[in-house]
Symmetry: C2
Subunit: 174 residues, 2 copies
Amino acid sequence: MNTHAEPNPEHQHTSAHDHSTCISDALTTAEHLCAERGVQLTPIRHKVLELIWASHQAVKAYELLDRIKPLQSAAKPATVYRALDFLIEQGLIHRVESLNAFVGCRCSGHQHEQLLLICKHCHEVEERTATEVMQALSDEFKQAGFIVHSKAIEVHGICAKCAESSADNAELLA
Amino acid sequence: MNTHAEPNPEHQHTSAHDHSTCISDALTTAEHLCAERGVQLTPIRHKVLELIWASHQAVKAYELLDRIKPLQSAAKPATVYRALDFLIEQGLIHRVESLNAFVGCRCSGHQHEQLLLICKHCHEVEERTATEVMQALSDEFKQAGFIVHSKAIEVHGICAKCAESSADNAELLA
DNA sequence: AAGTGTTATGTTATACTGTAACGACAATTT
DNA sequence: AAATTGTCGTTACAGTATAACATAACACTT
């Protein structure tokens, strides 16, 4: 199958907030951050970031490729993966390991490696700082004598909104 | 490249313990568990489990395929992936999402979803129960109203043994 | 202006990871 | 016996990611 053309709107909760603000906030933050750091948020990188922020769902690399081709007809896998590498390096997006997909990072610039809550129903990814969890993890590493380079904490399940909107839909609660 | 034929011995710590006991323990536990549950640990599944337990490193699916072919010349990708699916369902192995690889699970039968500490140097994967971390996570889910189906907590870095054995090797501590 | 270094991108090819779909076959159930 | 279930063989393909090399664009120097 190769039918990924749009963010899957099936169960999205975007109506609950002004998503255009999410996008523009993320983009202007990214622009400032890159300017400060003296790195280039080139048109391709900017576009990829914008496409990722089109929803709060994690987006696959080849979906991005399909969506960027109309605008950048030379685009190839490497085009997208390079942009993704850059955005990850700069902390502007997260790679969701358990989905082979990518999602915008709200808290760019500082604080990384967060808890990602991934909803199986609406497919949106919520990012949480989870201070206590991180503290408990640090303690664990100290105990184990483990020197951390990077973490991925990914949890799959049903988000609050989906659970609520289908409180009588037993199927979800399995 | 397609040169994965053996567990990478480069930096393994297997000498520090009697690994043959690890293997046989894991296999007999698995046999008992499957018998109890009335599911079949067929020869293929048994072999895949054994191959995974050949080291404490995470093993890739196609490495397993290469290693199983001499014994099971009909083996195809599906052969391996089916066995892996079974072993995961039974809680006998973990899938390491951030590596697209698989590692034996020590604590089969009960308690799942653990903290995996993945060493970038020796590539061994240590599994920890991390009770405090799990408790903090539960609290976080409660706060977020998130209903958990599965978790993956994977941390990359340098394990205690590697850190120690190269205390003067500054390169690792980056 | 010509040369050099650096960064980003274009381009081709290929490697690696994973699944769908269908049939064969055996064991079990009805 | 027929139907069902579980496992495996087999073919084909979908999806994910990178290597390697070429080119372009720009900044800087000489």
